[in-house]
C-alpha cells in the first residue's frame, strides 16, 4: 500500500473574505440592466414628482381666502396673533398689576355637528349652539406688546382655562405659575414689570406675597408700548376615539379684572379696545369687547396668541410634501431588493453562489450590504435634490413652507434615504423567505405603503387606529420626515395626516429597523435550514 497524495489544484487559492463576497454581489447587481434601470427610474420618479406641476400650490388662485400668507413672529416662525386688547400707551419702565376673579367662556356645542369631511370647521357666525365653558388654553390677563401689529413681540401674564397661571412671551415661550383655576374665592393677582428691554412676570394669590414666574428680554422694545388687558380663546375641538371626523369651531373667553394699577405712565390715560387680527384669519365672527364698570373690567375675546400649527385651522406645507415621490421610488427599490434574491432561485444561480460561498449567512449579509448601499445612495441624491429645489419652487409660487433648520433638513434627507435602504433590505429578506418575487414585493408594499396611505395620505381611519398604525408598522419610519414642532401650549389634534407623527424621528426609524432585523433573522435561519 502506498499512500496517495490528495489532489491539490495548482491554482493559488483566492481570498474568500466578506469583502470578496460583497464585491461578487456588487458585480451581480450592476450587471443586471433591469435593476440599474429601476434605480435610475427611482431617482427620476422622486425628483419629477417632487418638482411636478401639481407641486406649485394654489396660493391666491381661488380668491383672497386661498392666500397662503402667515403672520410671522419675531423669531421668523409662523404665529397666530388674534385677541381682544384693552390698552393704553405705557412710557418707559413701569408695571401693570391686576386682580382676576373670573375666567368664563362660551364653547360651541358640536354634538349635533353635521357630516362630511374629516375636518369640519364652522364659523361662529353661521352659529352652532354654544354652551358655557372654557377651553384649556383660553387666556386672559395682562400683556405688554411692542405694537398692535400682528406678530410683534410681547410678554404676557395670564390665567388659562385649564393650565393655571402662565407667563408667555414671543409666541413660543411658556412658563407655569400658580396652578388651579380662578374664582372670586381664589382670585389670581398678576403683575408684569418692565425694566429696559426686560419684562418680568409675577403672580400671587393674595396681592401681598408675590412669586416671580419668568423673565424675558425683548430686544429693541420701543420706549412707549401699548399695554393692558387681553382675552382670547382658541379653536375648540371635539373628537372621540371611535370617530374619524373632527369638529372644531371658535370659542370665546371672558375675564373679569379689578384692582388694576399702572406704574410709570401718564396717569388717567384712556383705555382703548382693539380686536387684534379680527379681520379674516381663524377668528372670524364676534371679535369680543370690553366693559369698564367702576374699575371692574370685563374683557372678552377669541383667537390665540401662540405659534401657528397645521391641522384643523392650519395652512402651508412641510418639506415632507416635496418628498412624495419617495413612494414611487420605494416601490422600485422594493422590487429590486426582492429580485436581488428571488432571481437567484429562478435561474438556479443560488446553487453556484452557495457552492462558492458555503457560509450562507454571509451571502445574505453581503447582499444586504450591497442593496442597502445602492438604495441609500439613490435616496440620498434624489431626496437632497427635491428638498432643496422643491422648497424653492414652492416658495416661488407663494406657498408657505414651514421652516426647518439646516440640521432638520439633513435629518429628513438622510432619514429618507435610510428608510429606502432598510425597506430594500426587508424586501431582500422576505424574498429569501418566500423565494417568490410577487409575494415578497406585495408583502413589503403592504406593510410599508398601505399603512402610510391609511394614516397620512387619505386618513380614513379613526384617530386611535391611525395612531396605532403609525407606531407599530414599518410606516412609523416616516417620522424621519417630520419637521413640525408639537407645542404643548397649543391645543390641536396632532395627527400623522397633519404632519405630526406619534413617535420621534429616531424611534420611528428604529421600528423599521426592528422589522428589518426580524425579517433578516428569519431569512438567515431559513437560508441555512433549507436546501437551495
Amino acid at each position: 500500500m502506498t499512500a496517495i497524495a490528495p489532489y491539490r489544484s495548482a491554482v493559488a487559492s483566492g481570498r474568500a473574505g466578506f469583502a470578496q463576497l460583497v464585491r461578487a454581489e456588487w458585480v451581480k447587481f450592476r450587471t443586471v440592466r433591469g435593476w440599474v434601470i429601476a434605480m435610475v427610474v427611482a431617482v427620476l420618479a422622486i425628483v419629477a414628482l417632487g418638482l411636478g406641476p401639481g407641486m406649485q400650490g394654489s396660493c391666491g388662485l381661488y380668491g383672497p381666502a386661498s392666500d397662503c400668507t402667515q403672520t410671522l413672529g419675531p423669531g421668523g416662525e409662523a404665529v397666530t396673533d388674534s385677541f381682544y386688547f384693552v390698552h393704553q400707551p405705557l412710557g418707559g419702565n413701569g408695571a401693570i398689576t391686576v386682580r382676576m376673579t373670573s375666567l368664563t367662556g362660551q364653547i360651541p356645542d358640536l354634538s349635533g355637528g353635521g357630516g362630511g369631511g374629516r375636518v369640519k370647521a364652522s364659523g361662529s357666525g353661521s352659529g352652532p349652539q354654544t354652551r358655557s365653558g372654557v377651553v384649556p388654553w383660553a387666556k386672559a390677563g395682562i400683556i405688554i406688546k411692542a405694537s398692535t401689529r400682528q406678530g410683534s413681540a410681547y410678554a404676557a401674564m395670564m390665567v388659562t382655562g385649564g393650565n393655571g397661571v402662565r407667563m408667555q412671551y414671543d409666541y413660543t415661550g411658556d412658563a407655569p405659575g400658580i396652578a388651579g383655576s380662578v374664582s372670586a374665592d381664589s382670585p389670581r393677582w398678576l403683575r408684569l414689570t418692565r425694566s429696559g428691554d426686560t419684562l418680568t412676570g409675577y403672580d400671587s394669590a393674595d396681592g401681598t406675597h408675590w412669586t416671580r414666574v419668568a423673565s424675558v428680554t425683548l430686544a429693541g422694545l420701543p420706549s412707549t408700548v401699548p399695554g393692558g388687558l387681553f382675552a382670547t380663546s382658541p379653536q375648540y375641538f371635539q373628537m372621540s376615539a371611535g370617530e374619524t371626523s373632527l369638529n372644531s369651531a371658535n370659542s370665546q373667553a371672558t375675564g373679569v379684572f379689578d384692582h388694576l394699577s399702572l406704574r410709570g405712565t401718564q396717569p388717567g390715560g384712556a383705555w382703548t379696545g382693539s380686536a387684534i387680527g379680527a379681520a379674516g384669519g381663524p377668528a372670524a365672527g364676534s371679535p369680543g369687547g370690553f366693559q369698564d364698570t367702576g374699575g371692574t373690567f370685563t374683557v372678552s375675546g377669541t383667537g390665540d396668541i401662540a405659534p401657528s400649527v397645521t391641522g384643523a385651522a392650519g395652512s402651508g406645507v412641510t418639506i415632507a410634501q416635496t418628498l412624495i415621490g419617495v413612494f414611487a421610488g420605494l416601490i422600485a427599490v422594493v422590487v429590486v431588493g426582492a429580485m436581488f434574491m428571488t432571481a437567484e432561485y429562478r435561474r438556479g444561480l443560488i446553487r453556484v453562489t452557495l457552492a462558492a460561498a458555503p457560509r450562507r449567512g454571509q451571502v445574505l449579509a453581503a447582499k444586504a450590504v450591497v442593496i442597502a448601499a445602492v438604495t441609500f445612495a439613490v435616496g440620498l441624491v434624489s431626496a437632497a435634490v427635491v428638498v432643496v429645489e422643491g422648497q424653492r419652487v414652492l416658495r416661488e409660487h407663494g406657498v408657505y413652507v414651514w421652516p426647518a433648520t439646516a440640521l432638520t433638513e439633513v435629518r429628513v434627507i438622510v432619514g429618507t434615504a435610510a428608510v429606502l435602504a432598510v425597506a430594500a433590505v426587508i424586501a431582500l429578506a422576505i424574498g429569501t423567505v418566500l423565494r417568490r418575487g410577487a409575494g415578497a414585493v406585495a408583502a413589503v408594499i403592504v406593510v410599508i405603503v398601505l399603512p402610510y396611505l391609511l394614516t397620512v395620505a387619505i386618513p380614513i381611519l379613526p384617530v386611535a387606529a391611525a395612531d396605532w398604525l403609525a407606531r407599530v408598522t414599518p410606516a412609523a419610519a416616516f417620522a424621519v420626515q417630520q419637521t413640525l414642532i408639537q407645542y404643548p401650549q397649543v391645543s390641536n389634534v396632532y395627527t400623522p395626516s397633519a404632519g405630526y407623527y406619534p413617535l420621534p424621528p429616531l424611534a420611528g426609524f428604529a421600528v423599521l429597523v426592528a422589522w428589518a432585523a426580524a425579517a433578516l433573522a428569519l431569512a438567515a435561519y431559513l437560508l441555512q435550514r433549507r436546501d437551495a
Binding site: 401639481g54 369640519k120 406585495a442 402610510y452 381611519l461 379613526p462
Partner: protein, 256 residues
C-alpha cells in the same frame, strides 16, 4: 373549451391558488370587521358611510387578487411552462382570454364570498356601534339600492383588478416587477394626490384606478365624489382593458 380546461387545470393544481383565494376571503372579512369595530357613530349624521366602512377589507384583499393574477402569467414565464403552453395552443390571444376567464371566475367567486360575509358581519356589528335607524342608518341590506351597488361593485372591482394585473403581468412577464407596477398604479395615485394642490388632486382622483374604482362603495354623500360610482368603476375598466390590450399585443409580438 380546450384552452379553458387547460388553464383551469393549471391554476387548479397549484396549491398557492387556493391559499391566495382563502386569503382574499379572510382579509376582506377581517379588515372590514376590524374597521367596523374601530369606528363609532355617536350622533345622527355622523358623516360615516357604513357600507364603505365594512367593505374596506377590499383595500387590502385587492393586493392578494393582484398577486394571484400576476402569478397566473408570470409563474409560467419563471418555469418555462409558457413555451409548452404556447406550443400546445399556438393562438396566443386565446390563451390570454382563457387565463382571463379562469382567473376572473375564481376572483368573482372568492370576492363574492368575502364581500357577502363582510356585509353579514356589518349587519351584526354596526347597529351596536351607533349605526342605528335613529342616527339615519338603516341596517345594511341587499334590497337597498346603494348597498346593493356597493356589494356588487366591490366584487366587480376585485375582478377588474385581477384583469388589470393579468394584462400588466403579460406585458412585463417578471412576477416581482409586475406586482410592483400593479401596486404602484393602485397605491401611488391616492398618495400623490394627497400631497398636491386641490386642482391636481381632483384630477388624479378622477383617473387613478384604485381611487376611481372604489367610488362604487360610496353610499352616502355621492355629490362630493369626483366621479359617479359607476363612472368610477368604468375608469377602472378602461385601465383593465388598456392593460389587457398591451399584454395581448406584447404576447402576440414577442418571443416567449
Amino acid at each position: 373549451m380546450t384552452p379553458l380546461r387547460a388553464e383551469w387545470t393549471k391554476i387548479r393544481t397549484l396549491a398557492g391558488t387556493w391559499w391566495l383565494l382563502l386569503a382574499v376571503i379572510a382579509l376582506t372579512v377581517a379588515v372590514g370587521s376590524a374597521a367596523g369595530a374601530a369606528v363609532t357613530c355617536q350622533v345622527a349624521g355622523c358623516g360615516q358611510d357604513p357600507a364603505k366602512l365594512i367593505l374596506s377589507g377590499v383595500d387590502l384583499s385587492q393586493t392578494i387578487v393582484a398577486v394571484l393574477a400576476v402569478l397566473a402569467v408570470s409563474g409560467e414565464y419563471s418555469t418555462g411552462m409558457i413555451r409548452v403552453t404556447l406550443t400546445a395552443m399556438p393562438r396566443r390571444l386565446t390563451v390570454l382570454t382563457a387565463k382571463a376567464v379562469v382567473v376572473t371566475g375564481l376572483v368573482l367567486t372568492a370576492g363574492a364570498v368575502g364581500v357577502l360575509a363582510s356585509v353579514f358581519a356589518g349587519r351584526l356589528m354596526l347597529p351596536a356601534r351607533g349605526f342605528t335607524q335613529a342616527h339615519g342608518y338603516p341596517p345594511l341590506s341587499l334590497a337597498n339600492g346603494p348597498d346593493l351597488r356597493a356589494v356588487v361593485g366591490s366584487v366587480l372591482y376585485l375582478a377588474l383588478i385581477a384583469l388589470l394585473a393579468l394584462g400588466i403581468a403579460t406585458a412585463v412577464r417578471d412576477s416581482a416587477a409586475s406586482i410592483g407596477v400593479v401596486l404602484g398604479l393602485l397605491y401611488l395615485f391616492p398618495i400623490i394626490a394627497g400631497a398636491l394642490d386641490p386642482q391636481w388632486s381632483r384630477r388624479l382622483a378622477q383617473i387613478g384606478p384604485m381611487t376611481t374604482g372604489l367610488y362604487i362603495q360610496d353610499t352616502t354623500d355621492l355629490r362630493g365624489l369626483p366621479l359617479a360610482p359607476w363612472q368610477g368603476l368604468g375608469v377602472l375598466a378602461l385601465w383593465a382593458t388598456g392593460a389587457l390590450l398591451a399584454g395581448g399585443l406584447a404576447l402576440r409580438l414577442r418571443d416567449a
